[in-house]
Amino acid sequence: MTVDLREILISLAYIVASVLFILGIKRMGKTETATGGNLMSCIAMILAVVATFCKKTVAATWTTDWIMNGYLWCAIAIIAGGVIGIIWAKKVQMTGMPQLVALLNGFGGLASLLVAVSQGWNINHKLEAGNMVTNISVVLTVIIGAITFTGSVIAWAKLDGKISSKAVIFKGRFVISALLLIIAIAGSVLFAIDPEGLVGLIGLLAATAASLILGVAVVIPIGGGDMPVIISLLNALSGLAGAMAGFIISNTVLIVAGCLVGTSGIVLSLVMCKAMNRSIKNLLFSGFGASAAKAKGSGEHIEPKSISVDSAYMVLEAARSVVIIPGYGMAVAQAQHSVKELVNKLEANGAEVVFAIHPVAGRMPGHMNVLLAEADISYDQLKTMEEVNPLMPTFDVAMVIGANDVVNPAASSDQSSPIYGMPIINADQARNVFVLKRGAGRGFSGIENELFIRNNTSMIYGDAKATLTALAKEFNAD
């Protein structure tokens, strides 16, 4: 056995990188260590990249003929991508975070897809001698990468308001999806059998096209409120695509990192599903709109009572403990800074203020926490549903800001409700409930919220940001 020091050092670098990724993710589980954890995984990435540049195959491309120099082209691509990445990361507003994560995620999938197609296309330049294992890795990367890419782009467009965030349900979507999957598999088989011939190439391209369309077909029927689950799922897929690309070039660090991301996304999806009392299957294969339509118009309609900012202030002024329950509406109204203003006043007035955050509030897991952290709210005030619910009857005021379904008592009492069984924040058990809402419309699921017509509930209609600022001003007037 000849010892190749260079290859050994590169393998060692990959091992160190894998360990740093693992430790980095572990550290991201605690607020105190999370920033360091992220830095650690960033160092791991740089280490993996540098090690790859040292590979013999890559180093062999160094020539004085600049146009043929592999390093030159890689440098151009990395600088171009890096500049775009930096600009986006600096520019994005915290309310736009779900969109950015969706888009970046799509790019990860696209990169894996391109790597696989490039490998499948340019058979003469394969790093590995083409065999069945490599071929299957190529087609799996193509299918997963393509679904991740178009699925994420659709999710981004929905979140960004480029297209309607409503669940678009079309007839025969299962048939279409099934057909697309069959085409993708058939194309993959053709490629695996004849990777170097024209038939195989056509098969590969057909599989790519079918998977791209499949990504659209799968995400289009998902409504805005289900986005936390679908984003987690797409995140998992982008990791899996990376891991599959690792099988193509037999690279261990790709497999470890990709697989960690894959499982992380799946675990988060399951957490989100549990918080909505739905299975992933149910979410993917039955649009929410279908069941909600039936519930509409059931029962007599009672007009909720609404109060003015002045009278709400009277109650808040006397309140000793306040729980704030934010929802997607707070993000839409960009009201997080006004919330902080009011919290400051309430605390100065001697009240204790906490936030109760439902796992699926907002459009991605943990969305509300990030917005409130941006507004400088101390994270020990951000409580989970499980922490707050037992204490709910002790709160003088529960203030619901732009949330709807996650506080709907029908979820625990009305078996015919489409959200029956979903764990909710029991806002109705607080002594007084204020609901800040833009208008008298329904929530995402389109169902009546009986919280609004409870005796202890008062609606404060209007833009949440304006209402909160007005409430904070009332405290000044004293």
Binding site: G29, A77, L104, A111, I255, M364
Partner: protein, 100 residues
């Protein structure tokens, strides 16, 4: 790649999957968004594959153009992902509450 190589890689894949479940299950919901965007950056690890492939192919071939694009997108994913995660995490502060 021969079968024993594949088995080794599969071994790594399966072990990593179990490790991932153990790691992620412990992360509180407070940090789910940074976790997701951080792992999203990690999924840009495909940048390594893009480099390996982009470098070794002849300039101007279809394969080279595709891998060149792959490298751009992977870099956006990695750089954007890490930076935005860092930005978010810096915002999570615990204020020293003055004794009440």
């Amino acid at each position: 790649m021969n079968l024993s190589d594949l088995m080794q890689l599969l071994f790594i894949f399966v072990i990593s999957a179990f490790l991932g479940v153990e790691l992620i299950g412990k992360v509180p919901s407070l940090l789910h968004t940074p976790l997701m965007s951080g792992t999203n950056a990690i999924s840009g690890i495909t940048i390594v594959a893009a480099i390996e492939i982009c470098a070794v192919q002849d300039t101007g071939t279809v394969g080279m153009i595709l891998s060149f694009l792959a490298l751009i997108f992977a870099t956006i994913n990695v750089v954007g992902g890490y930076m935005v995660t860092n930005r978010m995490l810096k915002m999570f502060k615990k204020k020293d509450k003055e004794a009440k």
